[in-house]
Structures are given as C-alpha cells and as structure tokens.
Amino acid sequence: MTTANIPLPSYTPRDFASDQDVRWCPGCGDYAVLTGVRKALAGLGIPREKFVFISGIGCAARFPYYMNTYGLHTIHGRAPAVATGVKLANPDLHVFIVSGDGDLLSIGGNHTIHAIRRNVDMTIILLNNRIYGLTKGQYSPTSEVGKVTKSTPMGSLDFPMNPLAVAAAAGCQFIARTLDVDVKMLETLIARAVAHKGTSIIEVYQDCNIFNHGSFFYASQKETREANTVTLEHGKPLIFGPDRDRGIRIKGGTLTSARLGDGVDESDLLVHDETDPNLAFLLTQMAHPALPEPMGVLFARPGAATYDELVFSQIAQAKMKSACKGDTLEHLLHGDETWVVE
C-alpha cells in the first residue's frame, strides 16, 4: 500500500533466518524446505515485515520460529482459522501456513477445507511426512494402509487421505506438489503461489528421518525419481521416465501410462492444462506404483474472487451506502423508536 515509491527491499535468504536454533532432527526433510522458503522469500521483493508465518503443532509447525518474519505457532490443527482472522484484520499481510499432515489433515482437516473453499488469500505449505513426528511416530491420515506404527502395531486400517484431491474437491484454485529434496522447484512454486490470489496449497513430500524414513524414496531418490514422478509444465505433454520415453494419455476420463514409440508419439500424450479443474482431479489421483506422481503445478486458475477481497468490497459498498443515507453510529444507538422524557 505504502510501498509504491519506496525502493524494493533486497534480501538474502539469511535475512529471513531468525535468531533461534533450528531444532529438527539431523536429516529431517524440513531443513530443505526451510532453506527453500527463505530463498524464495528473499527473491520476492516483499518487505519482510509483511509476512506472517502461521502453524499448528508438530515438528513441521516449529517452522515460524525459524523465520525472521512475524510468526504464530498456534494450537494443534487451528492454523487455517487463525490465519483467516489475520487476513480479515489486515489483508495486506502475506500469510503462509506451514504445518504437518497430522495438523492440517487430521485434527485440522475441516479448517483447511473451509479456508480453501472460502478462498482466503494465503499459501498453505503442507509438510507431508505421512506420520506424526512430534508425538513420536503414530500413523497419520496420509499413512499407507497397513502401516505399522506405535499406535498400529498390526498395521493401520484406514485408507489414506489424498490431500490434493480433497483440496480440489473443495475448490482450491492453486494446487501444487513437490519434494523436500527439490529446493529449486519449491522456490518456483512459492513464487507462483504468492502471486496467485486466493488459497494456494503446496504439498511437500517430506522425509521424517526418525519415524518414517524413506517413505517417499520411490519419488525422491535419484535412482527412482524419474520413473516414479512426472514434472508438470503447462502446455507440455506429460513425459517421464529416466529416458523420458514414457508418457501419460487420457482416454474416456482415465489416465494411463504409455511407452513412446510403438505407434505412440508425443502428440498422443496428454498436454498439461493447469487451468482445467477436471484434469486437476485426475492428476491428484495418479499414484505410485500404478502411475508416476505429478510434481509441479497441478492446477492454477486465476480469477476467482478471494474472501478477503469480497469482505472489503462489501465493507466499501456498505460505507458508501451509509454515507449517502447518513447512517451514523448515533443513528444506530437511537434505532427506530425513541421517546423523550423531559
């Protein structure tokens, strides 16, 4: 608002580091995400004091303590609700929610969905390690069926929640995914998410080195990454594989994988359209081992009004109307019907 004629701040990632010791376990995937976020923010040219990082409770939720911005470490599952209040009070702030799969999908699942459906202008970074880290290793809503954990010694029973599918169903207009190890992609995604008006969600496959080590190795390790993930680019066909010789086709609303050659060429492949909501849902359904898992921007459609915008436009409208009608606080106190005692 007041930044128009002030030179844009120039930052290094270090400027976004708070003075607190980072206390994740050695080898935790969260470190890379922290690096990526600090880097991304340094490049945005937005004054540091405009950022508010908000989290719930969990290992991931320690994130705000490590950012030299404004920050709120709240209570378990409630970050999206707190964040909504922050935006209602001050829509100029750039709000990030960074929290874990347990926090944002288990106890906080409802708040996440409702924030998304309201399209509050903020970015959710979901650090999905498919486990409860801070409470020392219980299964989470994203854990695979059969997962043996402290609370499920014979294996978990419930079907994992697909956070991006749920986000899509709730009408999210910016949906992305990346890997903790891919700091570069995270940087890009954050820049795009901040530019997007409305709720954006970035799922990060994050390795919990202690309680769920290797859970995402099929996607994150050099040897397997090319075969098991596909990087999405708007307007480009979906090609993957270590030799980039495989692709994704769509038929009758179903995605299948095909080998190039043998009568299949690039033109037969699905071309990514990040503005297509139906495609977005199909992409969220691609799951290892049947299909490679999409990384990058699954869906991004600008244009939907944000909750905060709409709130303030109603306020402006109400103010205009009341100014015309002369509706003041004085009038309100008096109401329709008064009498005078002399």
Partner: protein, 630 residues
C-alpha cells in the same frame, strides 16, 4: 385521534402501580409483535417497563400444540422496576394451548382474556384437554380468575368484512384485536402502533391494504373494550419518574451489538467478529453483520473453534477480535482461549448462557457457566470475567470489557444469559461524547532495545505486554503456545521461568482490580443480610431487597458485575453483614468462590428451572433464613 380515545373512557379508570401482562398464542399468532407494541407504547407514555419473550423450542410447531406456544411478558409500572414480574395480572390467550401453558402463572383473581372462537373441540383436543372439557367454562377456574371470553376471530373478520384481503391475512390481524382490548383496558394511546403499520406495510412492503386492515382491527378491539360492557373497570398506570433524556427499548443482545460498534469508534479499531450461530447468541452475529459501515467486520466460521481462533488472529493482526457463543460453544472455545491467554492478546468472548448441561434447553435461560468461564481451561489460565446485570447494562459492560481487554492485554469473557439477551427495558441513549475513548497504543520500531524487540516486556503498573502489529518494520517476532521466556517471548522450558510466568499471568489479572469500580450496596451499608448476586438475577434481587426493606427487615443487596478479578472492597462489604445470601440460577457457583475466598458461610438460593428468578421466591427464602437462626 388516539388522544381522544385515551381520554374518554366511559368506564372509571382505577389507578394501579404496576401491571404484568402476558400475550400468548401460537408461534404464528404475532404475539411478539403485539407484546412489543404494548411495550413501546407503555414506554412512550412514561411507564418503566421490562419485557421478556418466551419462544418455543421448535421453529414452527404444528398449530395449536402446547409446544408451539409463544409468549411475551411485560411489566409496566409507575415506579422503577427491574423484572418483567413474577405473577401475571392479565393473560391474553389466543387459543387453548396458550391458556393451558400459561395458566399457572396467572395470579389468583387475575384477568384472562381468551379468543373464545379458538376453543373448539379440535383445538382443545390438540393440546390434550379431555373430550368435552372447556376450561373457559370450568367453574373452578372461573371462580379463581376473571375469565373474559371474546370471539376475537369472528369480530376480526367482521371488522374486515368487505376489505379486499385474503382470509389468511385477515386472521393474521387477530393479534391486533387483542392488543386493542389491552390498550383500552390500560388507557394507552394507539397512534404509535398505527404509525408502525403505515411505515412497515405502507413503506417498503408496499401493502397499504394490510396496514389499513391492521389499523381497523386494532381500533375494533379498542372500541370493543369501550362498548362491550364486558370489563367492569379500566386501569391507569401513571408514568414513572425518570431522568430526562432520549430513551429507547433495548434487549441485551442488541445492546452488545450497539456497544461493539461504539467500541470500534472509541478504540479506533475495527471489530472483527468471528462467530458461529447458536441460540441464544446468534442475534449478536446478525446485528453486527449489518454494521459493516461502522467498523465492524463479521465472519461466520465453520465452528466455534474456528471462530475463536479467527478472533485471535484478528487481534494479533491489530483489530479487536470478538466472538460470541453459548455454553456448548464456550466449551469448544476453551482450548483457543488458553492460546489467547498465553499470547496475552486483547479479545472479547461473549457467552450468552442457556440451560445445560450439554444441549440442554437451548431456548431457556440459566447462569451455570460461571465456573466454566473461570476454570474451564487446562493449566493455570486466568482471564478477566465480567457479567452484565440487565439488558441495558450489556452496553456498558461490553465497553468496559473492551477497555479492560486492551488495557490489560487479555481475553475477557462476558457472561450474559438468555434472560437478559432477549429481555428488554428502556435505555437512556448515551451521547457519544459522554463515552470515554478507549486508549490503544502500538509500539513502533523505536521499541527495540539494543536492536532487539521484546514482545514480552511488560508495563510496570499493569504488567501488560506491548501490542506490536505485524507489518511494523523491525518488530518481527514469533509468539507461540509453548511457555515463553520472560521478555523475549522465546520458547523456554526453564522451571523458574515457568513458575514466574504462571504467577505473572495471574498477577496481571489480579492487578486489573485496580481499575474496576468498588462494589455498591443497595440499602444500608451494613445489616443482618446481604443478598449478593451476579448477572441476570439483578432485577429479581434488587426488587426482593427493596421489598424486604419495605417490610422493615435489615436486608441490603449488592451485585457483582466483575467476577474476576472482583472489586477490591468486596470483602469489607461482605463482612459488614451478619449473613450473606447468594441467589443463583445454578447450584451455587458464585457461592463456591465467595466461600473459598473469604471463608464466609454464604448461603444459596438456587433455582435451576430454565427461567429467570422470581422476586417472591427470594423474598420468601430470605425471610425463612432470617426466621431460623444460623
């Protein structure tokens, strides 16, 4: 015109001091409107009034059933009154169900005016009267009450014969016939009501024919009183002496709405209200949603937890976060409230209490959330708790709560209840200039000490911490729900620091006592009995005290509007009386605190009936206690 009508009753008018009238009928019968009109008119002619609506629990119960009965009770008086009254002097019963449900509240010898047309076998059956029985014809009842049978339905239709509206619309005017009779009986002018018809139906609704019909029926009822020779007397309730000023009628919920808009102006902060609908608090959300032009933003959250947390976020980001709920919602908000306490942010939480436990009786009143408000959070988690005493006091206490929250950087719980939320009384509209500004300050970059900002540094006097706004360059800081180090606010597990912080948070709340007014005593400053109350029992207690003193007993009353911290003179006041009696609409929650704090053998008068307190039950029980020693 009405002037003439009022003045020229053929019947002699008997002066009476105060009257309790209740309009009762089906939910669709317009009883709230009729009662409201009677109340307005009575206020305008200068009576003191107190009203209480009694809604059915169902949205629209089937017509004619007892559980679909809607009532509106009003006391109007030539003296200062504080309650809508215990026993009903006049009951207007629009159908058998209304009579059945309300009969036991009518005083012996009281007047019952019933729409005799509605006492058909079918209707009598619907509300469970045995076949062949009609209460209007019951001799015992006729001996006990003055029952007037008026064929209101027929007379209404007759009055509208030839008017071009449907029978449904015609029948909807029945309530105006009843109101007309009531106006005649108590010599009230009918013009404000007539004007309302014009304004409402004639105005935006564009149905002038309905306005005309209502007017005709109102007059018909009035003339019926005048001419029917049915009623032996008219009554006159003289104006009550009041302070000069401009008045309006106000309910507790509405007073909170007006107060929050006033807070926005006086603190120069927007109010960010995050709520989730729940009876009987929803009107606060509804009312505020219409005040976008006055610095009020409203947000209907997905549940109470989200509402609480959004309010916290709003306060953190620099506006005043507010939420409102009832008991079950307060339970859900309790974890979030703990967060607000450890954050030390200003915030208002309204609990419009209703009858519990659990869902309980949502449309009925109770004051059984005091201990929940004080203690319903894990750990040592103190905040300020206040409770308005009357509908209009909701205005003052809301502003007071905001002042305390901001000054002491703490959440404040305001305990209202269904009785004062829906009840109404006259309110002298304050001039805006007479309301003090609410000072707010936010630190700027200069607040850093040696380049470091300390979010948990404290004001020496109040112990409040600074309210730094995100967006302020240089004050970037992180606060969390973990225990925090004194001054820096960083996470700390240090044992001594924890103990110090626990005690600091408590001390901060205790120190707020310095800025709250001393407890006032109504009646002599010392004596045999002090009746101590809090919240909505004020009216009943004050009236009971007055009556007991009139009867020559050494009884005073006092009312706690600040429950935590309590006024500093409380102990002195209590010790000046031989006995302390605490009437509560619960099993003794304030009593528990008072006994513990002062080791005084306070006794309770405890009724938990989902209703407001009756004056006579206090009078009687206090008398009994004074008779028996101990």
């Amino acid at each position: 015109m009405s002037q003439t009508m009022t003045g020229t009753g053929a019947k002699p008018a008997m002066p009476v001091g105060a009257v309790v009238i209740r309009f009762a009928g089906d939910s669709g019968d317009g009883m709230q409107f009729a009662g409201g009109e009677f109340a307005s008119t009575s206020a305008i002619v200068g009576n003191d009034i107190a009203t209480f609506p009694d809604f059915p629990a169902e949205i629209r119960a089937p017509r004619g059933t007892t559980f679909g009965v809607s009532g509106f009770q009003l006391q109007f008086s030539s003296t200062d009154i504080h309650t809508p009254g215990d026993m009903v002097n006049v009951l207007l019963a629009m159908n058998p169900a209304a009579l059945k449900v309300n009969l036991h509240d009518v005083e012996e010898g009281g007047i019952i005016i019933a729409d005799s047309d509605e006492f058909t076998p079918v209707n009598l059956g619907k509300c469970g009267y045995p076949a062949g029985y009609n209460p209007l014809a019951d001799e015992t009842l006729n001996a006990k009450y003055q029952i007037f049978r008026v064929p209101m339905s027929r007379l209404t239709r007759e009055a509208l014969a030839g008017i071009n509206i449907g029978t449904k619309d015609m029948d909807r005017c029945r309530n105006m016939f009843a109101l007309g009779i009531a106006y005649w009986l108590y010599q009230r002018p009918i013009d404000t009501t007539l004007e309302r018809f014009d304004a409402y139906y004639g105005g935006s609704k564009k149905r002038p024919e309905v306005a005309a019909a209502n007017a005709m029926v109102l007059k018909a009822g009035y003339y019926f009183g005048e001419t029917a020779e049915l009623f032996p007397t008219r009554y006159e309730v003289a104006p009550a002496p009041t302070r000069p000023g401009t008045y309006r009628r106000i309910s507790g919920n509405h007073a909170i709405v007006l107060a929050l808009a006033t807070v926005a102006a006086k603190a120069n902060k927007d109010v960010v209200f995050a709520g989730y609908p729940i009876t009987p608090a929803s009107e606060i959300l509804h009312g505020l949603a219409r005040l976008k032009h006055l610095g009020v933003r409203t947000f209907q959250a997905e549940d109470e937890i989200a509402a609480m947390c959004a309010a916290i976020g709003a306060s953190y980001a620099g506006q005043l976060g507010v939420t409102a709920t009832s008991g079950p919602g307060l339970a859900l908000k309790s974890e979030g409230l703990g967060l607000a306490v450890i954050y030390e942010l200003p915030l208002l939480v309204f609990d419009v209490q209703r009858a519990g436990p659990s869902t309980g009786m949502p449309t009925k009143t109770e004051q059984a959330d005091l201990l929940q408000a004080l203690f319903g959070r894990p750990g040592e988690c103190p905040c300020i708790v206040v409770a308005p005493a009357t509908p209009s006091d909701c205005f003052d206490m809301t502003i007071e709560a905001a002042r305390l929250a901001i000054r002491h950087m703490t959440p404040v719980i305001v305990l209202s209840d269904g009785y004062i939320a829906n009840g109404a009384e006259p309110w002298k509209i304050p001039s805006l200039e007479s309301i003090a500004e609410i000072p707010v300050s936010h630190p700027g970059p200069e607040a850093r000490v040696n380049g470091v900002y300390q979010p948990y540094a404290r004001d020496e006097r109040t112990l409040a911490r600074p309210w730094a706004l995100p967006g302020t360059p240089g004050l970037e800081h992180r606060i969390g729900s973990l225990e925090k180090q004194h001054l820096t606010g960083n996470v700390s597990y240090d044992p001594a620091n924890h103990e110090a912080m626990v005690k600091l948070r408590q001390e901060k709340i205790d120190r707020a006592a310095a800025t709250i007014p001393p407890l006032e005593v109504r009646g002599p400053e010392s004596g045999d009995v002090l009746i101590l109350g809090w919240g909505s029992t004020f009216g009943a207690i004050a009236t009971a005290g007055d009556r007991l003193r009139e009867a020559g007993l050494s009884v005073s009353t006092a009312h706690l509007r600040y429950l935590n911290p309590m006024p500093s003179n409380l102990e002195q006041v209590l010790r000046r009386f031989g006995k302390v009696v605490i009437p509560e609409n619960n099993l003794g929650q304030l009593r528990l605190i008072i006994r513990s704090r002062f080791l005084i053998d306070a006794r309770g008068i405890n009724h938990v009936r989902g209703r407001s307190f009756r004056v006579d039950s206090i009078v009687n029980e206090v008398r009994e206690m004074m008779d028996t020693k101990g």
